[in-house]
Symmetry: C2
Subunit: 200 residues, 2 copies
């Protein structure tokens, strides 16, 4: 971690550490060490630990929004939903740490919750738009219920990975093979749900 623009290196280091141990579990000194600079340099580039964290979040938010925009929105409900979920899976496979970061901040009652809720809200709107013709506006089959379920099914695999690895005899759930298997499982579930909803 000694190549490239120092400000960028610090951001990368903060990203890795925050998403591994949470904001409260990481000191600015830790970040500096990993970035290969001294602590005071971190404060030169980012005026506080808090701002540093916000910049980490912001970078993810931008990447996330860009991916969502690029998803083709043609076809029937099933095609759109599968494509949307594939795009999201692609995104988190490229950005493992994003899911952990967001989950950790939501779970720990972060002060940055409004900023985080923007990202969650983007996904929710998409799911709502895709399912709008197929499900009621309220009640147990409303789009928002399915949104939470899809998010749980997809995210939980990545969040539980450290615990699953121990349970599955040490195999890495994040290796290419298991990840592909998980993706198939998710699509199978989506088909099962759409089928019962009468969408296809």
């Amino acid at each position: 971690m000694t190549n490239g623009d120092p400000a960028e290196r610090i951001l990368d280091a903060a990203d890795e550490l925050f998403s591994a141990r949470g904001i409260a579990g990481v000191s600015v000194r830790d970040v500096a060490e990993r970035a290969g600079v001294k602590k005071a340099s971190v404060f030169y580039h980012y005026k506080s630990k808090d701002e540093l964290f916000e910049r980490v979040l912001e970078r993810y938010y931008t990447a996330h929004a860009r991916v969502l925009e690029s998803v083709d929105s043609g076809g029937d409900v099933s095609e759109r939903l599968h494509r949307f979920i594939d795009a999201y899976l692609d995104f988190i496979e490229d950005h493992h740490r994003y899911v952990r970061l967001v989950q950790m901040e939501i779970t720990s009652g972060s002060a940055h919750l409004p900023q985080i809720a923007r990202g969650v809200g983007l996904l929710h709107e998409r799911v709502q738009a895709i399912l709008s013709g197929l499900v009621p506006d309220s009640g147990p089959l409303a789009a928002r219920q399915f949104f939470v379920s899809f998010a749980g099914i997809v995210n939980n695999y990545y969040l539980y990975a450290p615990a699953l690895s121990a349970m599955w005899g040490g195999a890495d759930p994040l290796a290419a093979g298991p990840r592909r298997e998980r993706r198939e499982h998710v699509h199978w579930i989506v088909d099962a749900l759409l089928s019962r909803l009468g969408g296809k």
Copy 2:
């Protein structure tokens, strides 16, 4: 928080604070204040912050195991699965904080992961036992995949609650009405999956 055995009060205070802000986000002073004792008394009853946390986890683990044992295991796959999920939902409605605590520690790469994996393992074994006759031993439809999915569907609602509240116009997702609705949704999904698996 000034009634009962002091050691118990300290444990309760630690439970509430750790599960709300994470272990690193809480100081022993915070715990002492909430328990209505002085900081040194916390160290008298528990020799370190770390031991205090382990005792909090242990108490949940015991309660969790007791609930799992009490679930009736008769009937067909569908009955058993619905009953199992209801029992788990009952448990986390009574122990909201447990889910947050476990998730936070898994996500943040806790040093206590082995202890936590025990609780996850208990659930996994149950799901595996219930589904064993209905799904293959490996691949995208293996029981372990469904275990992760069920866990995600159920847990995620409680974990995302703070962010959902903001998105749903301020309504509390943990109030009795929304919780009942969520439970219906979960059972609907279980039926959809069993139906496609050919279980009923």
